[in-house]
């Protein structure tokens, strides 16, 4: 293909059209705001997308014209990634003459800030909720704010501030701003991007151009949401030759549905996949609710989570259990690979030079299939798994006729558990799990996996959890529970407990 014409990055910044021609593509949005523009309201707390102090809100328009607003971590977003988007920072929230926006006013009124360093990030997450038209219920507030850490308040006053927004009508100037933003986004279609003199960033708008660009520049890093690659730069101080982004191709940003499958192309974010697939895979709904944070899910992609080959990536075990297929593309050629053949070794995948992961194809669950996905981590929200287990059981009159098990955190790669699967074939779910079965599962898992001790868990705990998660899945399967994780069981139980506790407090 011919090289894309060079042009600067163009976006809306707090309502003002802005163009930048960066020398290097890996300058982060946060550093650009703070250092080049002197806009120091957005803070750096961790430079790895874990604390949310740098949160900004990105507005984008899809091909149907729908505008979405999502918070993102500016510390791991490279500047060219915001091309064509509308960016709001904490400096752009208040109204004319400095009148506070309702989300700001609520935080002041309810004493939502103490040291104030995390506050701009919270304001932006709340602002994203505000633009999304959130109903401001406690559960969704917690999900909205999971990616914003506060060390002072204990979050109570912030949640109270958020709850208070349910009754607030938008001021006229706020609606006006939203309208102007919408008009700008409407007037700006995605166009090919080629920027960065010293370190290029190429983002074609067609799948074919993208594929050829990747093949033409094998030394360039393929990039989507940069929720991992961002850290290569900010933490490992790596210098990439250049980047090729999949995110400018509109066709890659939407999930396609066939009779038996969902097809998830390379540009689909976790947030998009979550909203489209939640109903069909309830365990994935629960998993995505605690996958990263709202910021990470808005930027990170499903295919990126698979392609980076992390041994602890949460979707890989789930997709192993579901029997997903991967479509790899080289120029205009594609090949399909069952996902369990993709992971070859630690950070090594069956992906040839110039090839890219274009799609994940997910089979729909059959009526005789039960699917469970269970995650153990030190913290419930926004934490990397110590062990992640996913289980798909096909049954006939209680008997397991087929089973696929995917584990993360148990080996150098996300992996099936062949011996364990074998041991369970023919098992009758309606029968109790006796000592004999228990022992055979332990033995099979020992053959399948030799996990390691690391910062997240010990070898022994991992081994125990692999078995206990499996047992949970078998128990859930026996009782026809839709979900086997603690959250589901826990919410049912706690609801009743808190009801009986009511009246005690307050």
């Amino acid at each position: 293909m011919t090289a894309l014409p060079r042009r600067p990055v163009k976006f809306l910044l707090n309502g003002i059209e802005t163009t930048v021609d960066p020398d290097r593509a890996d300058i982060t949005l946060l550093n650009w705001l703070r250092q080049d523009r002197g806009m120091t309201g957005s803070k750096e707390g961790c430079a790895e997308g874990d604390c949310g102090a740098c949160s900004v809100v990105l507005a984008r328009r899809d091909d149907k014209g729908t505008i979405s607003h999502q918070a993102a971590n500016a510390c791991i977003l490279f500047l060219p990634m915001i091309d064509g988007l509308s960016v709001t920072t904490v400096e752009g929230i208040a109204g004319p003459d400095g009148v506070l926006h309702p989300v700001q006013d609520a935080m002041v009124t309810h004493h939502g800030s103490q040291c104030g360093f995390c506050t701009p990030g919270f304001i932006l997450s709340l602002f994203a909720g505000w633009r999304q038209g959130m109903a401001w219920q406690r559960a969704e507030i917690e999900e909205l704010l999971a990616g914003n850490l506060c060390r002072c308040t204990g979050y109570g006053p912030i949640v109270t501030a958020a709850l208070s927004l349910a009754d607030v009508a938008p001021p006229e100037w706020d609606s006006g701003r939203q309208e102007a933003e919408k008009n700008w986004l409407k007037a700006h279609n995605k166009t090919d991007l080629n920027t960065g003199e010293e370190q290029p960033f190429i983002a074609p708008t067609t799948r074919s151009d993208l594929s050829h660009a990747i093949a033409d520049h094998p030394q360039y890093q393929i990039i989507a949401g940069a929720t991992d690659i961002g850290l290569w730069v900010t933490k490992q101080h790596r210098k990439m030759d250049g980047f090729i982004s999949v995110m400018q191709v509109e066709d890659l940003a939407k999930i396609k549905e066939t009779k038996d499958h969902f097809i998830i192309p390379a540009g689909v974010s976790h947030a998009e996949a979550h909203s489209k697939l939640a109903a069909d895979y309830p365990p994935l709904d629960a998993l995505w609710q605690r996958f990263g944070s709202a910021q990470v899910r808005a930027s990170g992609t499903v295919c990126g989570n698979i392609a980076n080959g992390s041994p602890i990536g949460d979707l890989a075990p789930a997709f192993l259990a579901l029997g997903a297929d991967l479509t790899l593309q080289h120029r205009d050629e594609t090949r399909v690979l069952p996902i369990d053949q993709f992971f070859l070794g630690y950070q090594k995948q069956d992906r040839k030079q110039g090839e890219w992961l274009a799609e994940v194809t997910l089979p729909k669950l059959a009526t005789d299939e039960k699917f469970y996905a269970l995650k153990i981590s030190r913290r419930f929200d926004q934490d990397i798994s110590a062990v992640m287990g996913a289980f798909c059981l096909k049954t006939d009159g209680g008997k397991i006729t087929n089973i696929r098990i995917g584990f993360g955190g148990m080996a150098a790669i996300p992996s099936r558990a062949p011996k364990t699967e074998q041991a369970l074939l023919g098992h009758d779910l309606t029968q109790p799990i006796d000592a004999e079965l228990d022992a055979s599962l332990t033995a099979a898992l020992d053959q399948d996996f030799t996990p390691i001790d690391d910062v997240r868990a010990s070898q022994a705990y991992r081994q125990h959890m692999a078995k206990n998660l499996l047992i949970k899945a078998l128990l859930a399967g026996a009782s026809d529970a839709p979900n086997a994780d603690m959250l589901a069981g826990f919410s049912d139980q706690t609801k009743a407990i808190l009801e009986t506790n009511m009246g005690a407090a307050e």
């Binding site: 707390g45 904490v90 040291c115 360093f117 506050t119 979050y155 419930f380 990397i384 110590a386 005690a504």
Partner: protein
Amino acid sequence: MTDHTTPISTSIPHDSAVLHVTGGARYVDDLPMPKNGLVIVPGLSTVASGVITSLDLDDVRASDGIVAVLTAKDIPGVNDVSPVFGDDPMLTEREISYHGQIIYAVVAESVTAARDAMVKAKIEINEIPAILTIDDALSKDNLLAKPWQIASGDAANAIAQAPRQVKGVIYVGGQEHFYLEGQAALAIPEEQGQISIHVSSQHPTEIQHKVAEVLGVANHLVQVEVRRMGGGFGGKESQGNHPACLTALAAHITGRPVKMVYDRDDDMKITGKRHDIRIDYHAGFDDDGKILGVEFDQALRCGMSFDLSKAVAERAVMHADNAYSIPHMKITSRLCKTNTPSNTAFRGFGGPQGMMGIERVIDHIAHDLKVDPLTIRQKNFYPDHSSPIHGKTPYGQVVNDSIINDLTNRLVVDSDYHRRRQAIQDYNATSSYFRRGIALTPVKFGISFNKTMLNQAGALVHVYTDGSVMLNHGGTEMGQGLFTKIKQITASAFGLSPRHIRTTPTHTGKVPNTSATAASSGTDLNGMAAWRAAVTIRDRMAEHLGHLYQLPPEDIIFADDHVHMKDEKITFAEAANLCWQGRVSLSSTGYYATPDIHWDPEKGQGQPFYYYAYGAAVTEVMVDLMTGESRLLQVDILHDAGASINPAIDLGQIEGGYIQGMGWLTMEELVYGDDGHLLTHAPSTYKIPACSDRPLRSSIKLYPSTGNLSATIGKSKAVGEPPFMLGMSAFFALSDAIGYNQDRYPSLDAPATAERLYMTAYRQRGNNALD
């Protein structure tokens, strides 16, 4: 006329709230960089123990954008950034004491230039086996000082004679401060050898002293300003010395402004944390649960140097009794020296660690007697102040202000404790995978710096002729609302609304020789100093106005933004202008030193605390026995803030403290590799509580106090640290949950992560987790 004990109680928002929500609040890294500004990136050791045999930084120096590379040889004064003992080299010259220690500092045009250059450093280190853990240090007798002991009565004998005994060990992990703003300093060279420092520090005076020592100049050449910190929690009491001194040295050498901001990973690797502790305990008690004697052996991991460890260990010893009157106690304290970062102040300053020992003992006793731990707690509380007899602490202070019995009784009713305890029993009897647990834990926390001399403060107040007031004091704002409270105090002295008061950044040029804003004392000390400064001016004004209006000064009333003279009133601004015209000084300093306290560290006896702050919390939890995952269901807190100056701010401290304390004991885990490398050096691996980790239901209330029995400002009580220890209730609720119906005491260590809860329950049940 109001006096200093008149309560001031309004929940005005934080002084900087509007700046916080608009992004207008400036932290050190947000200050506009002066022209020609440079940055520093530190070069850290990647071994825990050893001797540098060769340090070749020539290629670093020769790289693009590098202006200077600093090593120990460049220091004109003293190579030390320690707060007290002189044992923290700014740039280590020979000896490597921990993984993360700063060996050299690159002064560069940009952070990227520095990072790119630093890969060219050639450092050879002769490694020496490192001592990393408490047990390691104990077995090798590697202590910073000889063991220290406090005893009351004859604990050994009392335990031996007691009808029943428990004995055990608890390990409690450390804690990273995780202030959201990393350590940061900006040094600007001025004329005649002066230097100005902007720094994120709780202790500007110490920064001033350390910079002067490092540069080898007099204190008056160094000016230090602190506007605000993005969180401190004790982590910026001494740890700001390092970046401040490095920037000062770099500015001194290059003649250019220099900024240093630790990135998160460097910050977590370089700086000290909360001390982890091992407590060995042995207690004797009777069949009713009355504790007769306790022996504690506390071993704290101090890291490679003293820092503030001696005082931290002292406070741990002085809180080994928590809220309990125990006739015979012996507490031994060991300061373990290890090849890890030098542990430092952290909210509670050893107090939380000390209390964990006695709360563990009570939990263990209750398990032994098969009774609710609450009954053991209530049996052993110090009597309330209204009681005819008062208890005495092991260090000799009479506890004559206790309210813990009344406070606990109220909380038991408010939280419906006994009915919920029964409901939990019933639930656990039928549940196979989930267990619930509940615990009520009390807090009695001593208020004052252990070191008597530190209990002093100053303030400076100016009234301008338009009636506006400028306030400065020695305290620093780290989010705790100090500036807001002191503004309220000053406003109340003048009868003004707080908007008339402007608080200026803390500055060594305005109030000298200050103590750190620490030990929860910020409002008690600085508030009183500011009050006195304001009242000095007010009294002068009253005298002058009395003269003008022919009234005795006590008839001149300052209220409602006005000055009232019987039937007449004028605005405060008019009054200020009249006084200026009458040549009355409208500026004053104020000074305060806490009365009635004394302490003999040699004997371990005295009255070190001006008063105690009290509180209690009930937490209910649920544990999944198959995985060890846990959740907080409900918390009920009743906490004593005396006559609160700002109830909203105090409630914020209480809730935030509780969550931080809960995080310390449940999910926050510092993991060091075998090579002494801190593996959890970023939020990806070190998990502080997130929003959803709050209890599903919270009820947080102030104890209905009639005011502090000691004569504090507005009869208020310190509230910074005490609520942190309310988090203990979460830990003991978890212990309760996994201990249900088990003969063997679970002996849970902290933090009670999912893995630790699971493994503890698994071992306790004879290796059958679901027994």
